[in-house]
């Protein structure tokens, strides 16, 4: 308990930044993933190719490597300076978007083909077919796996600790320098993560109930 109370400043600062990383990355990843997911089921061949290429390259690259490119590669390009926090958000969003896209695509595949055919039959263009008919049904089907993606994102934020973002993953480094026992510090970090994931699981249950349909 002392480890937590004596270093409360570290824990609050760390988890504040973890939550910033998580919330911004989650929103950007959801939007970007939605676009890429739509690309992957698009009737246009070149769009499908772009979507497939994006998912296959980024998803097959370890997150640490993407972070590395952002934190060490980008500044070498002599472009306008971006803070390490924002670079980390970019890396997390780009990475998580591939999982969001694939999860969405699996949801889209659960919507019977007849739905899309019917939408086309009444004259809806591709955009409206997606936003009005397919995606609402797809989202409903993918809530549980989508939440898993976001829980993974929450835990993935700790990778940013190595790239100059003072978040929960960096707390152990600070504690060890202050002479606190490392294991105790890590247990407290783990406990807070369990609580945060609990919040996400609660959100998942709420959403499932809200969008439940009688089958």
């Amino acid at each position: 308990m002392d480890t937590l109370l004596n270093n409360f400043d570290l824990f609050t600062e760390g988890f504040k930044n973890t939550l910033i990383l998580f919330s911004f990355s989650a929103i950007i990843a959801l939007v970007l993933g939605g676009v890429v997911g739509a690309f992957r089921v698009s009737p246009v061949t070149s769009m499908r190719a772009v979507g497939t290429f994006y998912v296959n390259t980024i998803r097959n690259t370890p997150l640490t490597l993407i972070m590395f490119f952002c934190a060490f590669g980008y500044p070498k390009l002599q472009l306008p300076e971006i803070s390490y926090m924002n670079l980390a958000i970019i890396a997390l969003s780009v990475y998580t978007a591939t999982y969001v896209a694939e999860t969405l695509r699996s949801g889209i595949n659960t919507v019977p083909l007849g739905q899309a055919e019917a939408a086309r039959a009444i004259g809806l263009p591709f955009g409206q077919t997606m936003t009005l008919i397919i995606l609402p049904q797809a989202f409903r089907a993918v809530i549980p796996p989508m939440m898993s993606v976001f829980i993974a994102l929450l835990k993935n934020t700790t990778v940013a600790a190595g790239f100059s973002v003072m978040e929960a993953g960096a707390v152990k480094n600070y504690l060890s320098e202050r002479g606190e026992p490392a294991i105790v510090g890590l247990l407290w970090v783990a406990l807070v993560f369990i609580l945060l994931v609990g919040v996400l699981a609660f959100l998942q249950r709420k959403l499932e109930n809200m969008w439940k349909v009688a089958r």
Binding site: G162, A170, K172, S176, E177
Partner: protein, 296 residues
């Protein structure tokens, strides 16, 4: 310079390997050639009664030492040859020799700063020699022999940097150090106008410095001198150390016998310490006195 260090390392290991034969029961009487050019004479018939760490070493016939491996001239491992060199590595080898273990009976384990206490407490290593500052908070978990070196927080900047001459010029500058390390916490607390950048290792900070992403790298001056000695054309250490860090040998808590043995070794080592220093960190051209051990 690196070639010289390598040569030194190779000859040292060769010498130690030869002299180490003297310790083994099978090779009695066959050690005359090795001893004459070995820096660390491997002690024979050492007994430290009441030291659990020493008993464990004897039982497994090997000593396991925790070190750093990314600090040039302090604790460094050449990725290509696997050769370990540096001041801390030499000190660790010296201690092992005094306990009766030759170079072939040493297993070095690279332990990052974060896991030092747990590695000692869990008994993964027998002792730790790797820029390990003695602090009261750490003394609650481990014991320290020494200090064997005294340094302080310094600043490493690009050689052509004219603006940063000491810690007073840090306002508005970007300063890099290892994540959560004491120097970066010190900068955050006492130099609030300074922007901090934190990476996992000092090498990444040094790379960021050569790229111009940061203006200075800060940590113990000893570590910075090691980097500057590696690339003297582009890097230089400025100002005087503005904190005091005392490096000690990390030991399991309560092993007073082993601690007293290492302290005696440091106190009665004559010029061994100076020789080690001159061959490693001293290559940067600095002269330093061996600190007195704190036996209390």
């Amino acid at each position: 310079m690196r070639k010289k260090a390598l040569l030194l390392g190779v000859s040292l290991v060769a010498a130690l390997t030869l002299s180490a034969c003297g310790g083994g029961p099978a090779n009695d009487g066959d050690n005359t050639a090795g001893d004459s050019n070995s820096r660390f004479e491997v002690a024979k018939d050492v007994s430290l009664s009441g030291s659990p760490t020493f008993d464990a070493m004897v039982k497994r016939d090997k000593v396991i030492i925790g070190v750093k491996e990314d600090q040039p001239n302090l604790g460094y491992r050449d990725a290509a040859t696997g050769e370990r060199t540096g001041f801390d590595v030499e000190i660790a080898t010296w201690i092992a020799a005094s306990l009766g273990f030759g170079a072939d009976q040493i297993e070095f384990k690279a332990i990052p700063s974060v896991s030092r206490e747990s590695a000692i407490v869990n008994g993964d290593i027998d002792y730790y020699v790797g820029t390990y500052s003695i602090t009261d908070a750490r003394k609650e978990q481990v014991d320290f022999a020494g200090p064997y070196f005294i340094t302080g927080q310094g600043l490493l900047v690009a050689a052509d940097n004219d603006t940063i001459k000491s810690e007073k010029d840090l306002k508005g500058m970007r300063v890099c150090s290892a994540t959560g390390s004491t120097p970066i916490q010190n900068i955050k607390d006492n130099f609030p106008d300074t922007k901090t950048v934190e990476f996992d290792t000092y090498s990444q900070c040094v790379e960021a410095l050569t790229d111009g992403q940061v203006d200075a790298v800060t940590t113990d001056a000893a570590i910075l001198i090691g980097y500057a000695a590696q690339d003297p054309d582009n890097l230089t250490v400025v100002g005087e150390p503005f904190t005091v860090e005392k490096y000690g040998v990390g030991l399991a808590k309560g092993d007073a016998v082993l601690r007293a043995h290492i302290n005696d070794l440091f106190t009665n080592g004559n010029d061994t310490w100076t020789q080690i220093y001159d061959d490693t960190l001293g290559q940067s051209g600095t002269k330093v006195q061996q600190p007195e051990v704190d036996a209390s």
